[in-house]
C-alpha cells in the first residue's frame, strides 16, 4: 500500500549514535544532518494532526528545538525517530488544545468544501468525505493520533506504540475503537442520506 511507503521511504540511513555525539559536542553540521533525516516525517505528521501549514511549521520547529536541547537525555534505548516522534506528538497535543479552543469559536463549515480532490482518487461523495473528516476531527485525541499515524501515514503499530509510549496491544485496540467510532458516525450519515 502506498500509505505505508510514506513512513518507510524516509527512514534515516545515517549513523545516528555518531551524529548525536557530534551534535552534543556542538557540531552544527551534524545537527543539520540529523534534522534532514527526520524533519520531513515530523513535518508530515504535524501537518496531518493540525491541518495547518503555519502550525505544522511552528510545531516542527518546537519539536527540533526541544529535541536538540534535551539531546543529552536521549539514552538510545529506543530509536531516535521514536523519541522525536514522541516529542512531536506531545508538542502538537499540548498546543492544539489551545488552538482547538480558539477554533471552536470561529468554526467555518464552508472551509471543508474547499478540500481538493487529487487526480487519480476514486470519486467519493463530497458530503461523505466531509462527514468522515469531521468524524476524524471529533475522535478523542489518542484515537485520532493513532488512526492518522496508522491509516493515513502508514506507521506500524510498533512505531506508533513507541512514539506514544504505550504497548502495541493498546495501540491496536485504540485503532479498533477509532474505526468503530468512525463507522458509527458514517452509519448515522447513511441513515440520514437514505431518508
Amino acid at each position: 500500500m502506498t500509505r505505508t511507503a510514506f513512513a518507510l521511504q524516509t527512514t534515516p540511513k545515517v549513523n545516528e549514535p555518531e551524529l548525536i555525539a557530534r551534535v552534543l559536542a556542538g557540531d552544527r553540521l551534524a545537527g543539520r544532518e540529523l534534522y534532514d533525516a527526520h524533519a520531513p516525517r515530523v513535518y508530515r505528521l504535524a501537518y496531518r494532526l493540525t491541518g495547518d501549514a503555519e502550525l505544522a511549521r511552528e510545531f516542527t520547529q518546537d519539536t527540533f528545538v526541544r529535541a536538540f536541547q534535551r539531546l543529552a537525555d536521549f539514552r538510545g534505548d529506543a530509536a531516535f525517530s521514536t523519541w522525536i516522534h514522541r516529542i512531536t506528538i506531545t508538542v502538537v497535543a499540548n498546543a492544539m488544545r489551545k488552538v482547538r479552543r480558539l477554533r471552536e469559536r470561529e468554526t467555518d463549515l464552508s472551509d471543508l468544501d474547499a478540500a481538493p480532490t487529487p487526480s487519480g482518487s476514486r470519486r467519493i461523495d463530497p458530503d461523505l468525505r466531509e462527514r468522515l473528516a469531521k468524524a476524524i476531527d471529533g475522535l478523542p485525541e489518542i484515537y485520532r493520533t493513532t488512526l492518522i499515524m496508522h491509516d493515513l501515514e502508514g506507521y506500524t503499530h510498533t512505531e506508533i506504540a513507541g512514539s506514544l509510549g504505550v504497548a502495541e496491544g493498546t495501540c491496536k485496540s485504540r485503532l479498533s475503537a477509532a474505526r468503530a467510532q468512525l463507522r458509527a458516525a458514517l452509519a448515522e450519515f447513511a441513515k440520514e442520506y437514505e431518508s
Binding site: R3, T10, G26, D27, R28, G31, R32, Y35, D36, A39, P40, Y43, R44, Y47, R48, L49, T50, G51, A53, A56, R57, T60, Q61, F64, V65, F68, Q69, A115, P116, T117, P118, S121, R122, I124, L128, R129, L132, A133, I136, I148, D151, L152, E153, R179, L182, R183, L186, A187, A190
Partner: protein, 216 residues
Amino acid sequence: MTDENRDRLDELLEDAARTYNRPPDERHMPLDQIWESVEAQVFPATRRPTRYAQWLRVAAALIIGVGIGRLSLMRSSSRPPVTAGPIDSVARKASVKVADVQPVDPATSRYLGQAAALLIALPAETNTGRPDEAFTKRANDLLLTTRLLIDSQSGSDPALRNLLEDLELVLVQVVRLEKERDPSRRTEMELIRQALDQRDVIPRLRTAVTEYAADD
C-alpha cells in the same frame, strides 16, 4: 454494522489518506526556514560567520586603518600644511587628500577613538555569529554620534565627512547584525550589502588607507 460498511470505511480511509489534512510534497515543505529558526536557537554560538559578517570584517579593518590614519594626522595637525601633488580630478574624487583635512575638536577625536576601538573588537564579536547586546548598543550610540557629527560643523570637512559617512554605513550594518536571526531581515541586509558594493566603499577605503600609509 454490515460488511459493506467495513469495505466502505476502508475505501474512505484510503481517500482520507489523500485528502484529509494532506501535507505538501517534501520539496514544498519549508524545511530550510524551519532549520534556520532551530539553528538560531540551538546553535547560536557555533553558527558559521555569514559571508556578510566576513565582509564586515574586511570593511572594519579598512575603516580602522582610515581611523588610525586620521588620528595620526590630527596629532600632527600643527605641522605646516602639506601641499597636494599633481593629482588628476578622478583620483581627487576617489581618494582622501591629506591637505584637505582640517584639525578636529577633541570630542570628535575621542569619538573616532571609540569607533576604532569598537571596530577592532568587531571580528571577535562576529566569530560567535553576531555581536552581543552591549556591543550592539554601543554601536548604536556611536551611530547616533556619527549622524550628529555629519550634520555638525565637522561634516563640512569633505575628508572627515567621507570618513563619517563610511563609518555610519558600517555601524548601521553592525546594529542590524543584531537582528540577523530574524529570517525576514536577511533580504533587507542583502540589499544593504549590495548598496555598499555599489558605492565602492571598499576600493575607496583602500585608496585612503594607502595614501595615509604613504604620508606617514
